[in-house]
């Protein structure tokens, strides 16, 4: 069963065509990793899927529902959660308050404050701390926990490792290991190729707003991904795309 389908999606930043005719599907419980250089359109794509950025063409489907015309808050209520690039916590609110806001989707499920604290035990001693005073890793854990509190069907994670030390990134991914295999559909933007290939079952590579590689992770090599990342295959005239 398809949890998320993106069909010929376009998005602009003013005159800049940031996302060009992007299409892919993610099966229920799948883990799709989106990779690409800075400015490839990954964040814009995730935001367009979540409804935070208007699409100028194409469709976004959650299951069978076409949500293209819906605003972000309606899509969140239907089960899409985005952990934005840079975390975007409410800095003057506590960890507790940030997590509780995740319940505004009104969706019922197994995720609650206690389960978030079990998944991210480093948040327990910081529960009443102001979000702006947290370390980078703690902020990332809070942002993910806040998204999970909405009990999403599809979780979009934008650059979890941004601004974090490798050790902290390791800890975040360790905490997410159970989530990655829990059946939640995940779309993850990740710059670290090794880490991306380790967690993904589908890989999509973007270059200049377009999808230049789409493949099951098991069927693609690191070299192929690297070539697609830098557009080397494209320059040679051969586009490696697996539909």
């Amino acid at each position: 069963m398809t949890a998320l389908a993106v069909e010929h999606l376009d998005a602009h930043h003013g005159q800049l065509h940031a996302v060009r005719d992007v299409s892919f599907t993610v099966r229920s419980g799948g883990r799709l990793v989106l990779i690409g250089a800075n400015g490839a359109g990954k964040t814009t794509l995730l935001r367009a899927i979540a409804g935070a950025h208007p699409a100028s063409g194409g469709r976004v489907l959650l299951g069978d529902a076409d949500v293209t015309a819906l605003p972000a808050n309606r899509r969140a209520a239907l089960g899409v959660a985005l952990v934005p690039e840079g975390r975007r916590l409410f800095a003057d609110m506590t960890v507790e308050e940030n997590l509780l806001l995740g319940r505004m989707t009104g969706r019922k499920g197994t995720w609650n404050v206690e389960r978030v604290l079990e998944t991210f035990p480093n948040l327990r001693p910081r529960f009443k701390a102001r979000a702006g005073d947290l370390s980078g890793g703690e902020q990332q854990a809070t942002a993910i926990g806040r998204a999970l509190m909405g009990n999403p069907d599809v979780l979009l994670l934008d650059e979890l490792s941004l601004g974090l030390s490798p050790l902290v990134v390791d800890r975040v991914y360790e905490s997410l290991d159970a989530l990655m295999h829990s059946g939640t559909t995940i779309v993850l933007v990740e710059q670290d190729l090794s880490r991306a290939l380790a967690v993904a079952d589908m890989v999509v590579c973007m270059l200049e707003g377009r999808v230049v590689l789409e493949s099951p992770a098991a069927d693609v090599s690191r070299e192929q991904v690297t070539e697609a990342y830098f557009g080397l295959r494209r320059e040679s005239g051969a586009m490696e795309a697996v539909s």
Partner: protein, 274 residues
């Protein structure tokens, strides 16, 4: 409205005067006490605020930062002139409709008396601000309001409808404006064009106390009133001048010590004095 939506409402004073006139009509023509009249006018003004946000301010906000200011300025002119058209230039007051409360006082000493209405107004202000603080800090809806004020884009990602939150904030703002209009009408006189002066006082109080601060606005109002009272004791026209002097002193301090809060400024002054 500024705290949540970053909208400067130039119709704030005129809306307070509108509420005062509504209470006056209920008292004068229907014999309804202004206190009972608040039960009618407050929700009515809240609905007006909701509609104002949905149909005017939300659309104005999409056109840039200046348009909402112009829209509320136009609204203030509209309200002032409609009130003038309806009620003329005569001043009105709600004092005749609240019995002895308008002039009763508690005698503290032989020389000092405290007006009951003044104390009631202060108590009401503290209660309302306390209720707003509790709402913002301890309810899910209050957290949603704070989140929307901080980052409406991210709030939307969490399922929060910023349109409804903004409309709620405007409705709450209109409800408090109604209470301000009632206090104005009970303690002083008002006419169709009183809104401008009330707007000026509101701005001065907000700047003194810190824009966006719930309790800062109360503190700013008290400082402003003290300045006005001191000015009035010095000269007959000193009421307004005293308040403006207090405002400019605080503004000068904020410009001279940018980034400082009133709390840090006082703490620093106390450290220097000790």
């Amino acid at each position: 409205m500024f705290s949540v939506m970053r909208i400067i409402n130039l119709a704030h004073g005129s809306l307070a005067v509108l509420a005062a006139f509504a209470l006056f009509v209920l008292a004068d023509q229907f014999g309804i006490s202004p206190f009972l009249g608040l039960l009618i006018v407050t929700p009515a003004m809240a609905v007006v605020g909701w509609l104002l946000q949905i149909f005017i301010l939300e659309r104005a906000s999409r056109a840039g930062r200046l348009v909402p200011i112009l829209a509320t300025f136009g609204l203030s002119i509209l309200i002032d002139n409609v009130l003038f058209q309806q009620f003329g230039a005569n001043t009105r007051s709600l004092a005749p409709y609240i019995g002895d409360l308008a002039f009763d006082s508690w005698q503290i000493t032989d020389d000092i008396a405290v007006g009951k209405l003044a104390v009631l107004t202060l108590a009401a202000a503290i209660a309302i601000l306390g209720a707003i603080q509790l709402f913002l800090n301890f309810t899910q809806l209050g957290r949603a309001v704070r989140a929307t004020a901080d980052d409406a884009d991210t709030a939307g990602l969490l399922g929060i409808d910023a349109r409804k939150i903004n409309a709620l904030a405007t409705a709450v703002g209109m409800a408090t404006v109604t209470l301000a209009g009632a206090a104005l009408g009970m303690r002083a006189t008002f006419d169709a064009y009183s809104g401008g002066l009330q707007l000026l006082f509101a701005f001065e109080a907000a700047v003194i106390g810190g824009a966006g601060s719930v309790w800062g606005t109360l503190f700013g109002g008290i400082i402003l009133a003290l300045g006005q009272s001191v000015g009035a004791t010095i000269a007959p026209q000193g009421f307004l001048i005293g308040g403006h002097v207090a405002f400019f002193l605080v503004l000068f301090a904020r410009l001279t010590f940018p980034g400082s809060t009133l709390r840090s400024f006082v703490a620093g002054a106390l450290r220097g004095a000790s």
